[in-house]
């Protein structure tokens, strides 16, 4: 009888079966491992947004208001944005001191050492083109200007150039306080992310999302909730870095009004965003449009559905 004797080796069939089973398991596991890498990058991106949210809250605690989206009529650093304003609250105080020592009229001419600094807190690791330069005109005064991943919410409409209230938390010369957020801090978007369209400042674009060093009036400081995240509808800015970038189409207007940047990311299925209460949420591409519009405004009096 075969089974009664003590066996010294595996049969060929047993060995093949074991190899086949291991093969199937590995085939199942490998794609999952690659997905885990993106999950880790997304977690890092979430953390960056959390820090930016906390920095904005600390800014509010100090100055009793949120920073402006951008400002263009000052005697110093024209077109400066919220990004530079929260530096002291996100452990970039030394860089901020260097920035404030500079007396350039336009932000595009500030000390190159400051403009080309690429703070990791403003880069989403899922965007393989970070760290990036651009969105703020061509090379000027010895620097290209850092382009970041994070943009503030201007409202649910076109990002008009004038000084009108765009309905969101940040716009030109905005000065929003917690008291102004009538919709509730848990129902109002503060900061989300976008795509930089390449690392290099090749085409001297103006206004691509994340262009903090001069591109702000052309759309670079913020985004609108007019269309849901990762929209196939093109962004419209003064001058696109690239008009046909994958996942981020764009139209160059070459005039100062009628700009729109939408929230975009390389995360599967949506974008990260921090709400005014400081919580970071994942907003899916398939969010109901009325809900997303409601999230974009701070006092629109809408009933916000689940998201």
């Amino acid at each position: 009888m075969v089974w009664s004797r003590s066996r010294k080796a595996f049969t060929l069939v047993e060995l093949l079966v074991v190899i086949a089973i291991i093969g199937v398991l590995v085939a199942l596991l490998l794609p999952a491992v690659q997905a885990a890498r993106e999950a880790a990058r997304r977690a890092q991106c979430t953390n960056n947004l959390k820090q930016i949210g906390l920095a904005l809250h600390n800014y509010h605690d100090t100055f009793r208001r949120f920073p402006y989206g951008y400002i263009e009529t000052t005697e110093l650093h024209r077109r400066t944005t919220w990004m530079q304003e929260i530096w002291p609250f996100i452990e970039l105080g030394t860089l901020y001191d260097l920035y404030m020592q500079d007396t350039s009229l336009w932000i595009m001419d500030v000390n190159p050492e400051v403009r080309d600094a690429q703070p990791a807190a403003f880069q989403c690791p899922s965007d393989g083109f970070q760290p990036a330069f651009g969105g703020s005109g061509g090379r000027r005064s010895g620097a290209d200007g850092f382009q970041g991943s994070y943009v503030v919410c201007t409202g649910k409409d076109i990002m008009y150039y004038g000084t009108r209230d765009l309905g969101g938390m940040f716009y030109r010369r905005s000065s929003v306080t917690f008291g102004d957020i009538i919709d509730g801090t848990s129902n109002t978007l503060m900061v989300s992310e976008s795509i930089v369209r390449g690392s290099h400042n090749a085409n001297s674009g103006w206004g691509g999302a994340g262009g903090y060093w001069g591109g702000a009036p052309h759309g670079g400081y913020g985004f609108t909730t007019l269309e849901p995240p990762n929209s196939p509808v093109p962004d419209r800015v003064y001058q696109c870095k690239s008009e046909l970038f994958p996942r981020a189409p764009c139209i160059s207007t070459l005039n100062t009004d009628d700009h729109r940047n939408f929230a975009r990311s390389y995360h599967p299925g949506g974008v990260n965003a921090v709400l005014a209460d400081g919580s970071v949420r994942f907003i899916t591409d398939t969010i109901a449009l009325p809900t997303y519009h409601a999230l974009g405004t701070r006092s629109g009096m809408e009933v916000v559905g689940p998201f």
Partner: protein
């Protein structure tokens, strides 16, 4: 005696196809032509906005009077825009830079105050637009 082989084939096929169901609403490739005063629009943009305002918009580029892009089905509000240079004028909004000024030349009734519509369904995946300047 039941023949088990067809059942086995069915089982294997079912297992292979698990997870292959399409997700979300069906998407159709919409195509068509756009003319302005009888001439094909050389370069422009076309956008399909959901008439009910509940779901996202879809958009594509117009190249040599033709467009083709993915859209969900349904009743759509259509916006068409195209830009051209304004001869002899420059934009100086950025200090130290002069670029040729551009303007939208498609009338507002076709974009910001549009009256164009299209119905997209499995049987209707094409829409042609003849625009006029007056």
């Amino acid at each position: 005696m039941i023949n088990v082989r067809p059942l086995l084939v069915l089982l294997v096929a079912t297992l292979l196809l698990v997870g292959c169901a399409p997700s979300g609403p069906p998407m159709y490739t919409v195509t068509g032509t756009v003319t302005f005063d009888g001439q094909p629009v050389a370069a422009g943009d076309i956008l399909f906005r959901d008439a009910t305002g509940q779901t996202r918009s879809y958009a594509g580029k117009i190249v040599n009077g033709e467009y083709s892009f993915e859209s969900s089905p349904g009743s759509k509000i259509v916006e068409i825009s195209a830009m051209r240079d304004v001869p002899g004028k420059v934009d100086t909004s950025n200090p130290g830079e002069e670029v040729p000024l551009r303007e939208q030349y498609i009338p507002a009734v076709y974009n910001t105050e549009t009256t164009l519509t299209a119905d997209i369904s499995a049987d209707s995946r094409s829409a042609d637009f003849s625009l006029t300047s007056d």
